[in-house]
C-alpha cells in the first residue's frame, strides 16, 4: 500500500540513501481517535494506517475535518490515540511514560504550528532557545545552537526582534528554527503556510526543501495542491482514514520556480 519512497528517481540525494532496508521511522496501524461530546461520539480517526521511512517528505491532504491535525498531533506525541498502535523509531509510544514523551517531543520531533505559537515577550533567539532549555543545555551552547538554527532559516539578523516586530513569514521561520534546534529526526508541520500569502509560503517551502535535502524526515499538512506538490509523496485523508497514498513523480522545486 505504501510505496517505497526511495524508489522515487527524483528524490534528492541524502545521507540516508537506502531507507527501504530499514523498518519505518513512523509505523501506524489501525489508529483510532474518538472524541466524546456528551452523548455523541466523534471519530476523528477511524483506523488509520501509515508508514513513513527515514528521510521521506510527505504531504498530508484532505478536506477540513478529515482528521489531519488529529493525526499530526498523535504522530507528534502531543495526544494519545483511543485505540491502535503507533511505533516511533522502534518504540511503542503508548507504552511510554509522560517524561519520556516529553523527551521525544523535545529531542526527536520538531513541530511547526499553523499559528506559529511563539512567546510574545521573548526575542526570536530566546524563542529558538526554548527547547534547548528543556533539553538541559547550558546557556553558552544554547545561544550558539539557537543562532545556528536562525542562520539556517536566514533570520540571524533578526535574532533580537520580538515576534510582534516580525512579518508572518519571518515568524514562521523562527518557529521552524525552534523546531529544528534540537536536531530532531522528524519535522511535523500542520498547515505551516495556512496564515501566509503565496510569496511567503514559497519561502517556507524552499526551507523545507533544503531541510529535506539535508536528510530530515518531513510531514506537512496542507490544503493547497501546489504546496503538496513540493513533497515526494502525498497521503490523502478522508473521514479519518487514508484514502490515497501516491508518489509524486516530478515534485515542484520551490527554489527553481520563482515567480
Amino acid at each position: 500500500m505504501t510505496p517505497s519512497a526511495s524508489s522515487s528517481p527524483s528524490r534528492s540525494p541524502s545521507p540516508l540513501a537506502h531507507p527501504s532496508d530499514e523498518s519505518p521511522l513512523i509505523d501506524i496501524v489501525d489508529l483510532w481517535k474518538t472524541y466524546r461530546m456528551g452523548a455523541t461520539e466523534v471519530h476523528a480517526l477511524r483506523g488509520t494506517d501509515l508508514q513513513v521511512r527515514d528521510g521521506e517528505y510527505v504531504a498530508i491532504m484532505g478536506p477540513s475535518g478529515s482528521g489531519k491535525s488529529t493525526l499530526m498531533n498523535l504522530i507528534g506525541c502531543l495526544d494519545s490515540p483511543t485505540k491502535g498502535r503507533y511505533v516511533l523509531n522502534g518504540r511503542v509510544v503508548s507504552d511510554l511514560g509522560e517524561d519520556e514523551l516529553a523527551r521525544i517531543r523535545n529531542q526527536e520531533i520538531g513541530f511547526v504550528f499553523q499559528t506559529f505559537n511563539l512567546l510574545a515577550r521573548a526575542t526570536a533567539l530566546q524563542n529558538v532557545e526554548l527547547p534547548l532549555i528543556y533539553a538541559g543545555i547550558a546557556p553558552s551552547e544554547r545561544r550558539q545552537r539557537a543562532e545556528e538554527a536562525l542562520r539556517q532559516v536566514d533570520l540571524l539578523d533578526r535574532a533580537s526582534h520580538r515576534p510582534s516586530e516580525l512579518s508572518g513569514g519571518q515568524r514562521q521561520r523562527v518557529a521552524i528554527a525552534r523546531a529544528l534546534v534540537t536536531r530532531p529526526a522528524i519535522l511535523l508541520a500542520d498547515e505551516p503556510t495556512g496564515n501566509l500569502d503565496s510569496a511567503t509560503s514559497r519561502e517556507i517551502m524552499i526551507l523545507f526543501e533544503m531541510l529535506h535535502s539535508l536528510g530530515n524526515t518531513i510531514l506537512v499538512v496542507t490544503h493547497e495542491h501546489d504546496i503538496a506538490a513540493h513533497a515526494r509523496r502525498i497521503v490523502s485523508i478522508r473521514d479519518g482514514r487514508i484514502a490515497a497514498d501516491e508518489r509524486v513523480e516530478n515534485p515542484t522545486l520551490a527554489s527553481t520556480t520563482q515567480a
Binding site: I133, Y134, G136, T182
Partner: protein, 418 residues
Amino acid sequence: MKSLLRRFVLVRENVSLAVGTLVDNRFRSFLTILGVFIGVIIVVGVASVLNGFRQSVVDQVEEFGTNNIYVYRFPFVQTGRLPREIRMRRPLKHEDAVAIGELCPSVQTVSVGLQIDFGVTAKYRGEEMQGPHFRGVPPDDERVSHSTIKEGRWFTESESQHRADVCVIAHNVTEALFPNESPVDKSIEVSGHRFRVIGCTEKLKEGPFGQDNQEDSVIRVPYDTFRKYYPNMDDHFIVLEARSGQLDRAVEEVTQLLRRRRGVRWDEDNDFEVGTANSLIESFDKIVFATLAVMFVLSTVAFIVGGVGVMNIMLVSVTERTKEIGLRKSIGARKADIVQQFLTEAVLLTGTGGVLGLVLGELLMNGLALIAPTLPVATPMWGRAFAFVGSVTVGVVFGMWPAMKAARLDPIEALRYE
C-alpha cells in the same frame, strides 16, 4: 549528571521567568504579597519586643544574684487570680528562716524580711515620697540583696539587736527626698516614725519598659526595729544565698525542711514557693511563650490570608498563560518543569513579601528604639528565620495547587486555548 545539569538549567530559567513576571506585574504582585508582608511584620515586631523584654528581665533577675533562693508563700509571677487553696496558704515564720540557717548546710546566708508595699509615705523637710516599699531585714540582707552602698554604711548586728531607728534608703528614695544634699545622718519620717539615714545604695538596672526597678524604691530598717512598730505583721519572705556551686542542693534542703516544718504530707504539693533566678526566668518564659502563641496565631492568619491571595493570583497567572504552558509542554517541558516554574513564581512572590516585611520590620524596630529608647527591642535571629521560612512556605503551600493545575494541562487543549 546530565539530569543534574538539566535541573540547574531549568532552575535558572524558571527564576528569570518568575522575576520577569513579578516585575511585569508589579502592582498586582504588590497587592498579592500584602498579607505575607503583614504576617512578617507581626512576627518581627512581636519577636523583637518580646525578646528585648525577656532579655531585660533576665538582666534584672540576674542582678539580684544567680545563687539566690527566694522563698515565699505565693507564686512570684502571677497570671490571673490565684486559686483558693493558694490564697489560703499560711505565711512563713521568722523561725523558719532561723531553722534554715541552722539546718541547711548548703545555705550560706539567710535574710528574712517583712515589707509594707502600699500606703507608705516618706518625708524629709519639704520633700515627700509616696509609695516606697518599707522593709525590715537582717544586716545580712546587704550581702544577699547584692546592694552596693553608695554613701554611708549598712546597719550593724548591734543596731539590729537594739532596735535602733536607722535606715538604708535605695536610689529613688534618695532622689525624691534629697535632691540637693547628702542623705547620710539626716532624719526622715516614714509613716509617722522617725529614722536616721545611715546609708544609701546605688541605682539598679531599669526594668524592661524603662520603669524604675522596684528595688530602687525600698527603705530598709533592721528587722527587729520593724517588728517594734508592726508587731502583728507576719507575712515573711525569705531570701537565701547558697554556697557556691550548691544551689540545687540548697533548694532541696530548704524545700524538705519547710515541708517538714509546715507539715506537708508526702503526697501533697509544696504549700510555698521556692524560686531561683533561673526558675523566675522560667516562669516569666511561660508568659513569653503564651504571647508567642498569640503571635503565631496572628501571623498564621495573616499568612493564610496572604496565601489565599497568592493562590488566586497564581490561578489567574496559569489561566493567562495556558497557551504558553501548552507550547512549553509541546516542545519538551515535563510535568515537573511546569510545576517548578509556577512554584518558583509563587515562592518568589511570597519570598519578596517576606524580605520586604523583614526590611520594613527592621526599620520600624529601629524607629521604635529611637522614639522609646528604654523599650528593649532586639530582633532575634529566630524571629527573622521564622518570618522568612513562613513566607516561603506560604508560597510553596498555596502555589502548589495552581502549579499542579498548570502541569496537568493537556498540551493540545492548552495550545488551542484563546
